[in-house]
């Protein structure tokens, strides 16, 4: 069953390599999502299904949506949206789709063999995780909330338009 890990690791490395070497930002984003899905599957194989779910929800969901927003606002690369739809050309989506299909097949195998619960020995359950998180690490949780608040305020301050930042008196 180590073969599953090797296939997933290969998918992750290939997808990450394509992220780094690609020229189009949106295609690189697609490959990065595949890479994150592969890492989430590795988390699942390691007996950490909660971390795998968080990886998909927060990394591949929320953070990648932020990237998509910014890329759509900026539209780098000068490629015009419209005209021929990119879905007609399979070169744009074939690579990530193939890698994602490989991951889906692996997940199907894992679920068919090991059942819906964690495939390997789940040494650390979600209950123990929550108890440890809000036990010895509760100060870290508070610090993370402060960090997220600072990120929110900082992002709001930095993304303001130019003209509103001049009459505040502070150097931007």
């Amino acid at each position: 069953m180590n073969l599953l890990f090797y296939i997933t690791a290969g998918v992750a490395v290939i997808a990450t390599l394509r992220v780094v070497t690609h020229s189009n930002a949106v295609h690189a984003l697609l490959y990065l999502i595949v890479s994150l899905l592969a890492v989430a599957l590795i988390f699942f194989l390691l007996g950490a299904p909660f971390a795998a779910a968080l990886e998909i929800i927060i990394y591949a969901g929320a953070i990648m949506v932020l990237f998509v927003f910014v890329i759509m606002m900026l539209n780098p690369g000068g490629q015009s949206i419209g005209g021929r739809t990119p879905l007609r050309r399979p070169g744009t989506w074939l690579g990530p789709a193939l890698l994602a299909v490989i991951l889906l097949a692996e997940l199907t195998v894992v679920l068919a063999v090991g059942g819906v619960t964690a495939p390997s020995r789940e040494q650390v359950g979600t209950i123990a995780l929550g108890q440890t998180l809000f036990g010895p690490y509760v100060l870290g949780v508070e610090l993370a909330s402060v960090l997220l608040m600072a990120g929110l305020v900082g992002a709001y301050h930095l993304a303001r338009p130019e003209e509103t930042s001049t009459d505040e008196g502070g150097k931007p």
Binding site: V19, A25, A159
Partner: protein
């Protein structure tokens, strides 16, 4: 059932980290720089989860949660900086933003 050796998971995390580092060093588009930073953070999180699995402790997954929160904060501020950079110098090339006084 599935016994993944921790050494190989750490090796994968190292490979992913090096790929992200290469991306930061080679690419000059700031969006790709942020993507490579995400790859590096993700590989660090993978290393934490692997070590937590190896020792059977929940600490690795807790560090993964903290890395997640930190990545969310980092990427929001970073993308706001990308918008500000695009407003000021109308490019995404970080080499064009080499003047210290903006």
């Amino acid at each position: 059932m599935i016994s993944v050796p921790t050494t190989q998971v750490m090796l994968l995390a190292g490979v992913l980290f090096v790929l992200g580092l290469l991306g930061v060093m080679v690419r000059r588009n700031i969006i790709f720089l942020l993507l490579s930073l995400e790859i590096m953070l993700n590989s660090a999180a993978l290393a934490f989860v692997a070590v937590g699995f190896h020792w059977g402790r929940p600490d690795g997954q807790i560090m993964f949660l903290f890395i997640l929160a930190m990545a969310a904060a980092e990427v929001s501020v970073g993308l706001a900086l990308v918008l500000q950079l695009h407003q000021r110098i109308h490019t995404l090339d970080v080499d064009q933003a080499s003047r210290l006084r903006g």
